[in-house]
């Protein structure tokens, strides 16, 4: 599969990455290699195979609807952010 420069730029935009020109070229090469490797799976005929959504054969893992006390307090969590104000996380203006 061919990886174009636009593909890399599109992925970078989705991931909120800023890339230099050199990085774009390098990443393109890397991705080509990765996709080629994974593409080996295309050789298998999977027409009759159910897709695997998870590797553990579990289902219906539910919990009770009961409030449990939380060990991590608000201030501990807020401390993890770069900046906070009025018990809220402060971020550059988005809209």
């Amino acid at each position: 599969m061919d990886i174009k420069r636009e593909d890399i730029l599109h992925l970078a935009e989705l991931s909120e990455f800023t890339l230099s020109d050199a990085e774009i070229d390098d990443l393109g090469e890397d991705l080509k290699g990765i996709i080629k490797y994974i593409s080996q799976l295309d050789e298998l005929n999977t027409d009759q195979v159910e897709p695997t959504y998870q590797v553990f054969e579990m289902d219906n893992v539910w919990r009770e609807d009961k409030i449990l006390p939380q060990e991590a307090e608000r201030e501990m969590l807020l401390e993890l952010s770069k900046e906070d104000q009025d018990h809220q996380i402060k971020v550059p203006k988005v809209l």
Binding site: H10, E13, L14, S15, E16, Y53, Q54, F56, M58, D59, N60, V61, W62, R63, E64, D65, K66, I67, L68, Q70, A72, R74, L77, L78, L80, Q85, D86, H87, Q88, I89, K90, V91, P92, K93, V94, L95
Partner: protein
């Protein structure tokens, strides 16, 4: 040129489970401080894993059944990726490929049926507050369970768009799965509108108006879009496919600068949540818990309650449940553990019927609900603690037997809600207030005779005998005064006429 609007609506309903969809944290953040209902799971700290709330599955079944939807026995979750400060995970956990709720329909009061394409479970995002140079993020709402209901494009007018949203709200409130507080965003609507020349087989280009939070704004925004798009098409211009915002103050929609072309959510199966596989028995057991729905009340009460009154009362599930109890005691309602969410566990298994002789009681009580209770300032408070069906039935009986005048009936009715009075029984309250009308003919005749013997009534008596009809009112008034207002005026008038014609 005439165009036919085609409208599809997506509705997000916040479920009133006790805890969030994926963590054991309080899901009711009303009146609580920002970021006080948040756990490391909601915060998406590295290594945190979601733990699915079983109650959300049960609520989804109820919501689905309320919309006559098929419940899918196999469903699972997917990740929808996007970067935005309201989503700490960097993706939303939703059901893209296999939703829990399948196809169904909602019937509007007008009888129009709007098909439901599907509905799915997902987590809500956090709340952003924007300031001039920065935004603040509150994660209290992160992963509040949501059901997103997707309609088919079956709606063709602004009024039907309004009615559909309102009926969805009623269905969800009657099912008891949401607090239904629109002001606080418990239900939000995205409306897709396109226009095509009448008779055309192809649909036009659609615009989407997002995040409407009232039925009125849905109706107004839809009307506005129909006008705006008609004008563009009449001028030979094209409608741009885009997301538009609605300004309630300006009464118009405006295009939002958006990176539509960058929209690429890269859905993938959520590896941290095993699939949901329901047994038929489980779905049947849970579906049976669905309380009576608006359609049940409409068919049972069509004779006893005027359509206008019924449509008002249907906005209040508590009042409808009470009327259901009065209509037939087999529908005794139960209040759920969650204080403000009534849920009748009797469910729809038994068809609601108005028992013989109860129609006039239902009619009287429903009128008292609309004209007296809902007019009260404290009605919201009263709704959560209604008088017993027994007290209300007794009130209707006393009114019917003319033991209570219509004014006295209203007065006693209100006292049934009074914390000081309630629980004492209707008859006792009426007695204490001295409101029971004197219907005992013997006793009334004595009072009439006392009044007729008074010198000040002689002139009126003579006038009446001389043919002056209207003085009867004065005489009835005198008797009422003598009885301290307890006499039944109709009976008094009858006795007076009888006496004076002799």
């Amino acid at each position: 040129m005439k165009y036919l609007p085609t409208i599809g609506i997506e509705c997000h309903v916040q479920l009133c489970t006790k805890t969030k969809l994926f963590s054991e944290v309080d899901n009711d953040a009303r009146g609580k401080e920002p970021n006080s209902c948040v756990s490391p799971i909601d915060y998406a700290l590295p290594g945190m894993l979601p733990r699915l709330n079983g109650e959300a599955i049960r609520f989804a079944i109820l919501a689905g059944r309320a919309m006559n939807c098929k419940i899918n026995l196999h469903s699972r979750f997917d990740r929808k990726h996007y970067f935005y400060p309201d989503s700490p995970k960097g993706y939303q956990i939703t059901q893209f490929y296999q939703p829990i709720i399948g196809a169904g329909y909602v019937e509007l009061p007008s009888g129009t049926k709007i098909r439901i394409e599907h509905a799915h479970l997902e987590g809500d995002a956090g709340k952003l507050t924007h300031f001039d140079t920065y935004s603040l993020v509150d994660f209290n709402r992160v992963d509040t369970p949501l059901i997103e209901i997707v309609s088919m494009p079956d709606i063709h007018s602004a009024k039907d768009a309004h009615d559909y949203c309102k009926e969805l709200w009623r269905l969800m409130c009657h099912a008891g799965v949401t607090y239904g507080d629109l002001y606080n965003g418990n239900m939000r609507f995205d409306v897709n509108i396109s226009l095509a020349p009448e008779g055309s087989k192809e649909l036009g280009t659609r615009a989407e108006v997002k995040n409407l939070n009232s039925f009125r704004s849905v109706e107004r925004a839809t009307s506005y879009e129909i006008k705006r798009q008609s004008k563009l098409l009449d001028q030979g211009k094209k409608v741009v496919q885009e997301t538009r915002g609605w300004s309630d103050a300006e009464g118009k929609t405006t295009g939002q600068r958006s990176k539509e072309e960058a929209k690429d959510y890269r859905y993938m199966p959520e590896p941290d949540l095993p699939p949901i596989n329901l047994s038929k028995e489980f779905v049947e057991t849970e579906s049976a818990k669905l309380p009576l729905m608006p359609s049940d009340y409409r068919s049972a009460f069509s004779d006893a309650v005027k359509p206008d009154t019924l449509e008002i009362l249907l906005d209040y599930p508590q009042l409808m449940q009470k009327l259901g109890e009065i209509a037939s005691p087999s529908h005794l309602g139960h209040t759920s553990l969650r204080s403000s969410v009534p849920r009748g566990f009797q469910g729809r298994s038994a068809k609601l019927m108005v028992l013989d002789g109860m129609a006039s009681t239902i009619s009287l009580i429903s009128n008292l609900f609309t004209s007296v209770l809902l007019a009260e300032e404290k009605s919201a408070e009263y709704l959560n603690d209604l008088p017993s069906a027994k007290d209300l039935i007794e009130l209707a009986e006393m009114n019917e037997k003319k033991e209570l005048s219509s004014t006295a009936t209203k007065e006693v009715f209100l006292k049934l809600f009074d914390p000081q009075m309630k629980g004492r029984g209707t008859k006792n309250i009426a007695k204490e207030l001295g409101l029971i009308q004197e219907n005992d003919l013997g006793a009334l005749e004595k009072i009439v005779d006392v009044v007729l013997a008074k010198p000040e009534t002689q002139k009126a008596q003579n006038d009446f005998k001389a043919g002056e009809e209207k003085v009867i009112g004065f005489l009835v008034g005198q008797v009422m005064k003598e009885s301290h207002g307890k006499a039944n005026p109709g009976a008094v008038q009858k006795i007076l006429r009888d006496r004076l014609s002799k």
